[in-house]
């Protein structure tokens, strides 16, 4: 008798743990051929609530890490992803990709992590300023992470889109809660396993599976979330997100026109979308410079 294959259980990723949804619910996405991909957690608003708690508690530590250290960890993520390339290709193919496309997507995803690993300790230099104010003050502006970011990952580019959204957010020191593609969730969960084995502190990235239709409103009106990213060209949802975001004035960005496979799919401006500019003033003593006339 041939060996019976061991099937993988796809769980969600919250606070560095892999629990099942608290709701006990599941759904079974199928591919084009009608083959069931897996029993996947159908996350509830309470899973989201728990994930936000994890993301918030991870924010202080992650944002105050040295940028160099964040860079190292993103690089480590790329290394881990490279090592599990074959598994991602399998899953992408299960999710209807051709082998050629799957190979391209995983390669780009790895390279994207490397790209943002490099930005971790550089974008601040690009977007900071020492401002020449007219009074005797030293004045400088620097980007700082906005906080907890909720991300509705693109439905289509299940891996590359996911990585392209998460990487700039965490490279900049934010933490996030991500809702994976509803129809193609497999590699999102596997990506969580990559994260978990790459020195990324628990809670920095939290990945849920489930239905945007059910969760998008919770992702957008939670009072402890600082920004929301959304990728679909669905004007009703976009409208809903902007309305709900007013609850606590979240920063909202829509990436429906971005082609993640092109050069415009990566830039430090994506990092800046989840950054705040802080300006600091301090007096400059001017005794010697005043010609002794103090």
């Amino acid at each position: 008798m041939p060996r019976l294959e061991v099937l993988k259980t796809y769980k969600i990723y919250i606070g560095g743990q892999f629990p099942r949804t608290e709701s006990g619910r599941y759904y079974s996405p199928v591919n084009k051929a009608g083959k069931k991909l897996a029993n996947v957690c159908l996350c509830s608003r309470k899973d989201f609530r728990d994930a936000v708690v994890s993301a918030r508690s991870a924010f202080g530590g992650w944002s105050s890490r040295a940028a160099f250290n964040r860079s190292q960890i993103l690089y480590r993520m790329a290394e881990m992803l490279e090592g599990r390339k074959a598994q991602f290709i399998d899953e992408l193919i299960q999710q209807d990709a051709t082998r050629a496309h799957a190979e391209k997507e995983i390669s780009l995803a790895i390279d994207r992590l490397i790209y943002y690993a490099g930005w971790c300790d550089k974008f601040q230099q690009l977007f900071s300023a020492v401002n020449p104010v007219a009074s005797s003050h030293f004045n400088f502006s620097v980007p700082e992470p906005t906080g907890v970011v909720s991300i509705i990952a693109p439905q289509g580019d299940a891996l590359l889109g996911l990585v392209s959204l998460i990487a700039p957010v965490i490279a900049g020191g934010n933490t996030c809660v991500v809702l994976a593609s509803e129809t193609k969730p497999l590699c999102a969960v596997t990506f969580a396993e990559v994260l978990n084995s790459s020195d990324l502190p628990g809670g920095v990235v939290n990945i849920l599976t489930g239905k945007p239709a059910e969760l998008v409103s919770w992702f957008t009106d939670h009072m402890d979330v600082n920004a929301t990213l959304y990728c679909e060209n669905n004007s009703d949802v976009q409208k809903l997100i902007r309305e709900k975001s007013a609850s606590n004035l979240k920063r909202v960005h829509f990436y429906d026109k971005v082609n993640w496979y092109s050069a415009e799919g990566q830039s430090p401006y994506f990092i800046m979308d989840s950054q705040e500019i802080k300006t600091t003033w301090h007096p400059v003593e001017n005794i010697a410079g005043a010609g002794g006339g103090y």
Binding site: S135, S136, H137, P283, V284, E285, N286, I287, G292, G293, Y294
Partner: protein
């Protein structure tokens, strides 16, 4: 039995409050924004005149020069009746006797600089004798200088003890302690020197000798006024303030009055607690007073130089 001097634990003057230069200068410039008009100006000018320590501190001072200065002190401008006199005449110890005689009965005080003014670079016993000589000759007030070298060397106790000893030598005379802020370099040090002087018994603290630039400035004076205020709250003891040198215009003097009014209030607005050490200020005040009276802008030739 009192402890010997070297065993006494004195306050740790290195803990004096810190001063932010930009902040204190901003605050000082705010006083200059007050608009002083009409009777406020008139009363202010008279107050300024009455707070002046009319000063001559030159190597070439003679009896004749000092006598003329004393006459001016008593009769600032007889053409304008009802004017107050200045507060004091400030001279070297050797001129105290002449000044005292010239001012007899006028109520104007005689102040004498001592302690090897202006450098203060003399042995302590010389400084004490210098002071006792001035007091014995009739000085009502003594303007001493601190040992800036020792201060910069961190020997705060030396500076403190010296002031305390001069205070003792003063007897009934009021002691003004000159910090020579132009040699101290930072507001932090101005504040520390002020604290030392008041703790050691100063009746007045004074910015400058007039021989070093910069002399009095508004921010330096503000730092000292705030030190006086803090000392007052801590001890209940009032200390006077004397900016000296560099205040030659009425308008600037009025800004100083504004500062005294807003930092220390009513009790300091008299010549018992606030003085201007100046020589040319008096005539500028007189010119402004006459201008207020006549409506005409004035010329120096109509006011006696001494």
């Amino acid at each position: 039995m009192p402890l010997p001097r070297e065993k006494i634990i004195r306050p740790d003057f290195s803990l004096s409050p810190r001063i932010d230069q930009v902040g204190v200068e901003e605050r000082a410039s705010r006083f200059t924004k007050r608009s002083i008009k009409k009777e406020t100006k008139l009363n202010g000018l008279k107050l300024v005149l009455n707070m002046i320590d009319l000063t001559t501190l030159e190597g070439k001072d003679t009896d004749g020069k000092v006598k003329q200065l004393c006459y001016k002190a008593m009769h600032p401008h007889d053409a304008l009746p009802g004017l107050p006199t200045v507060a004091a005449v400030c001279v070297y110890p050797t001129m105290v006797k002449v000044a005292k005689k010239a001012l007899e009965g006028s109520g104007i005080k005689v102040a004498s600089v001592t302690t090897a003014f202006p450098s203060g670079q003399a042995p302590r016993d010389v400084k004490i004798r210098d002071t006792k000589y001035a007091v014995a000759n009739g000085a009502d007030e003594v303007d001493m200088v601190i040992s800036r070298g020792k201060f910069h060397a961190g020997e705060y106790n030396f500076v403190y003890d010296e002031i305390a000893m001069i205070k003792e030598a003063c007897g009934e005379a009021r002691l003004k302690v000159i910090l020579e802020t132009g040699e101290l370099g930072t507001y932090d040090k101005v504040r520390r020197a002020s604290d030392i002087a008041m703790q050691a018994g100063a009746d007045f603290i004074k910015t400058s000798t007039g021989k070093i630039q910069p002399a009095a400035t508004m921010p330096v004076t503000l730092v000292m006024l705030e030190a006086i205020r803090d000392f007052y709250y801590r001890t209940g003891k009032m200390t006077g303030m004397k900016p000296a040198g560099g205040i030659s215009k009425s308008k600037l003097a009025l800004h100083y009055l504004v500062m005294v009014k807003e930092v220390l209030g009513e009790d300091w607005l008299s010549n018992e607690w606030f003085r201007f050490g100046a020589s040319s200020l008096a005539n500028d005040v007189l010119m402004q007073l006459v201008k207020e009276e006549t409506g005409l802008y004035q010329a120096g030739n109509y006011f006696s130089a001494d």
